[in-house]
Symmetry: C2
Subunit: 320 residues, 2 copies
Amino acid sequence: MFFEGSEKKVQIIVNEKKLSLLTGIADAFWHGFVNSSGAKILSTIESNHCKAFLLSESSLFIWPHKLILITCGTTQLIKAIEFFIHEFSLQPIEQILYQRKNEYFSYAQPSCFSQDIKVLREYVSGAAYRFGAVDSHHNYLFHQENGYKANINDKSYEIVAYHISHSASRLLTHGKLTANEIRTLFQINELFPNFTIDDHVFHPFGYSLNGIKNENYFTIHITPQAESSYISVSANFDLIALLPRLIAILDPTTIDILTSNELNFEEKVKGNLPPPFVCTSLVKETLSIGDEILFSSYSQKTKQCSEAISLATNNEIQSL
Amino acid sequence: MFFEGSEKKVQIIVNEKKLSLLTGIADAFWHGFVNSSGAKILSTIESNHCKAFLLSESSLFIWPHKLILITCGTTQLIKAIEFFIHEFSLQPIEQILYQRKNEYFSYAQPSCFSQDIKVLREYVSGAAYRFGAVDSHHNYLFHQENGYKANINDKSYEIVAYHISHSASRLLTHGKLTANEIRTLFQINELFPNFTIDDHVFHPFGYSLNGIKNENYFTIHITPQAESSYISVSANFDLIALLPRLIAILDPTTIDILTSNELNFEEKVKGNLPPPFVCTSLVKETLSIGDEILFSSYSQKTKQCSEAISLATNNEIQSL
């Protein structure tokens, strides 16, 4: 069964004096917020500083002044943004930052980025960018333009692994792995010590994990199906040193990395990407709100596609 | 203005004793055939062996036993195949071979390949393949399975250049180039001597050319817009030696090549692709009907995308 792992993401920053997202809003609202996008809340964990919801399609994180909603599949995250604005008006909102990755099968999506932005622009004005060529891996980004200045100490890291090895795909799709076994495979306890973890194994395939510690979060989403494998790891702290382990576990053909405000990216990546990976895209832009965004993509030349895929037995043709 | 240059193509082979496509069918039928896909016939040339129609979206070529229809934009070539079957039944048809390239904006297409194949399979059974990874350049192919055996002396060559240089794009979009100037730019007379040529400059941008000589044809389609440039050259004779000139004129970031029954492809390409181009895909498959299909893709690492594209002033956002 085909599943679109590629994610849409929104970060909404509010004026905490006008609205505290963490203490001022009942969970019922967050259920409605997530439902409006087409996803569902499965479970919740919290620290003193934030709350993390594990969703049927990805994750929601809430701090007093900020939320991050990530959804995948054919969800319409844009509808959750509208839901938020309809509930609280634009008044407490300081900044909306909306991102969307290229999809495996954009044809199957209920909207494209340009249509999403048209909806957003009915509420707020802003700037939109594409990082990367339209016919290769790329990220779209929209940010509100309203005089807001970002705190460049707020960093974010998103790593996506595409086309993982057959053995990793087989292991992750055999249907009997427990959450604990997947945690062990990804060495979660060693790599993320002292995090509170909430995870879920989906049937027939798929795995999601939220981890929080104080103000920090990380999240892992696994779509392991061989033909459309997509494994994302995101956090608000540096993940670049994780690359060698991720590559050892997954042996992906391509890795995309999107960072914001990581100023030593190129240097750090150099020491953490083994030689078969060559850079195929490196796009940098300092947004007018101050965030420095960097998108890069790396492929293993030696793992390039060399077999024609028969679609008679391939699910792509059944699901699309 | 954004335009989807990526093409769909069908080759229909008939039993000439049951139906001669060249002498047995009035032009009125071909107008209806092309119209059914959403394109229009603009002009016609003919040789003793074939007829070539230049279309509002690409080209149609007809021989006594074979037709090749190529359409681009948001046309639905699949509807022309249905139109043909409704008119003549399956009886004279020996083989239907349908191809579709990855689009720049598949979201804007009225159907995806899988949906097209679902339609085709209402009439004929066959095998479908994808050549290349779904998240990079790829070609879809469907062929009928009915005991037909291809003549492996029937070769085909398709070269596509993506993301041409700014100067080539500027030259081809300045709006005042004549067909003659474009022929000179591409050295048509030197490269294709003694061909009968039919070409058309589109407004505001774009250029199509059909050339025929005896049984041979070639066709060029140019979508020069900087953000979605796409230039295709196809023929039923060897085009590989053309690569150095094409690259010198266009300096594209990526070149895709799809051949059928060219058995020395790798050796020939090696001598004709200058070093900045590295192979990113090479997929080979011998179809059950006997055709050997090879799809390959090459990129210039040094020309990789490094700038974020602002969509505020970019037409992608207006057209999608």
